[in-house]
């Protein structure tokens, strides 16, 4: 306890000097308040649009359109791609989720700017190199992309949206997300701690 306080004291002046030139990052919002805010946004989507939030769907549109641009016949012959590409009468990017995800980028930037948290950096624990962190980030993203497609949605579309609407599959999915993450947490401890 005493040593801990001493360490804090010795690092404090340095940290203050370092951040004094830039905006000091604000503390995060109270978790329950942020949760209520998020819940009200989700409720607004239900009331206004009759649908919930999402994220991974917009990336499926991006991938499918990319495949269709490079190999149109290949994409047309694959029901997964062709569903996102559509019949060609309208642009596949003229899609609710695509616009919503553009908003997510904007909203995140707005919040980060207001709270002084926009900073070019790498999120990782102290005992892993940036290169290794990038490998794991790519691998994790890959599993996330694959898993989200298999489950027909990610933490936004299934867990949050389906959870609030009491969808049976969404709740099974949510439990499995936590189970999968906790199962691999020990293996990944050096990356984060």
């Amino acid at each position: 306890m005493a040593t801990n306080a001493a360490v804090l004291e010795s690092t404090r002046p340095k940290a203050a000097v370092h951040t004094a030139s830039k905006a000091t990052p604000q503390p995060y919002m109270n978790s329950y308040l942020a949760g209520i805010g998020l819940g009200l946004v989700l409720l607004a989507a239900f009331v206004i649009m009759g649908r919930g939030l999402g994220a991974s769907g917009a990336f499926s549109t991006l991938v499918s359109s990319g495949v269709a641009a490079i190999a149109p016949e290949h994409a047309a012959g694959n029901p997964f791609y062709s569903e996102y590409v559509g019949d060609g009468t309208t642009s596949p990017f003229k899609d609710w989720l695509v616009f919503e995800v553009i908003g997510v980028f904007l909203g995140g930037f707005l919040s980060g700017t207001l709270s002084g948290r926009v900073k070019w950096m790498v999120e990782k624990g102290p005992s892993i190199t940036t290169r290794k962190r990038f490998y794991f980030a790519f691998l994790g993203g890959g599993l996330m992309g694959f898993g989200a497609k298999l489950a027909r949605g990610c933490t936004s579309g299934q867990a949050l949206t389906g959870g609030a609407l009491l969808g049976a599959g969404s709740w099974a999915f949510m439990m499995c997300v936590f189970a999968g993450a906790y199962a691999f947490a020990y293996l990944m401890r050096r990356q984060w701690q």
């Binding site: 801990n4 995060y28 919002m29 329950y32 942020a34 949760g35 805010g37 819940g39 409720l43 239900f46 649009m49 009759g50 919930g52 939030l53 990336f59 499926s60 991006l62 495949v67 694959n78 609710w96 616009f99 919503e100 995800v101 997510v104 904007l106 909203g107 995140g108 930037f109 980060g112 790498v122 999120e123 990782k124 794991f136 980030a137 790519f138 994790g140 599993l143 996330m144 992309g145 694959f146 989200a148 497609k149 298999l150 933490t155 936004s156 299934q158 867990a159 949206t161 959870g163 609407l165 009491l166 599959g169 499995c176 189970a179 999968g180 906790y182 199962a183 691999f184 990356q191 984060w192």
Partner: protein, 200 residues
């Protein structure tokens, strides 16, 4: 019944796209305010040192769930017009497990990686590249896994139907469960903080 507004034709699809951006901004704003632009904070959930993910997620679910329920009771929102993702049990169980592994390995989920990128996290940008690659692999394998993908289909199945309970009873049960989870999370965080303090 006057909601959902879009389903009653109160505005065009193009206006809907503008509203999508507005709703997305709100979504991204609260994700970032909650601290979900940080992979370390998100991953801490899986080491029991910071239970923010659980607290924010369940508060959001309970808030929206109660809103939908009471607006339905008040006759404002026609619940049958709100899209509920159909249940495909085994693909969702398998997908959830793979996605969960990806969460702790990569540090983000798709939505949180967007706000991480927009607040300057380089690893989140790499992670987004990974998501695109994962979706591409899924797309390429789709003909081979389509049979599994459409298996165990139960249609739009909800928990009240599964447990043969009234909607309101399940809503109440979820609220009780969430309060229990919050209490456990607060207790766990205190325990982990004590443990850390004793170590140093």
């Amino acid at each position: 019944m006057t909601a959902p507004f879009f389903k009653f034709g109160y505005f065009s699809e193009d206006i809907g796209l503008v509203l999508a951006i507005v709703i997305g901004i709100g979504f991204g704003f609260f994700l970032e305010q909650a601290g979900f632009g940080s992979g370390r904070k998100l991953a801490a959930q899986f080491y029991f040192t910071d239970m923010t993910v659980l607290k924010v997620m369940f508060t959001a679910i309970v808030t929206a769930m109660l809103g939908v329920f009471w607006l339905g009771v008040a006759g404002v929102l026609d619940l049958s017009l709100v899209y509920v993702s159909p249940t495909y049990l085994w693909p969702q169980i398998a997908g959830g497990l793979v996605l969960g592994a990806g969460f702790v390995i990569g540090g983000y989920c798709p939505g949180t990686s967007c706000v991480a990128v927009s607040t300057g996290k380089a690893d989140a940008l790499v992670y987004l590249g990974g998501i695109l690659a994962g979706i591409f692999v899924f797309g390429e394998l789709f003909p081979a896994i389509e049979e599994f993908y459409i298996s165990s289909a139960y249609g739009t199945l909800t928990l009240p139907e599964v447990f043969h309970l009234p909607y309101g009873v399940v809503v109440f049960a979820v609220v009780v469960m969430a309060i229990g989870a919050f209490a456990a999370a607060e207790w766990g965080e205190r325990k982990m903080a004590q443990k850390k303090e004793n170590k140093t």
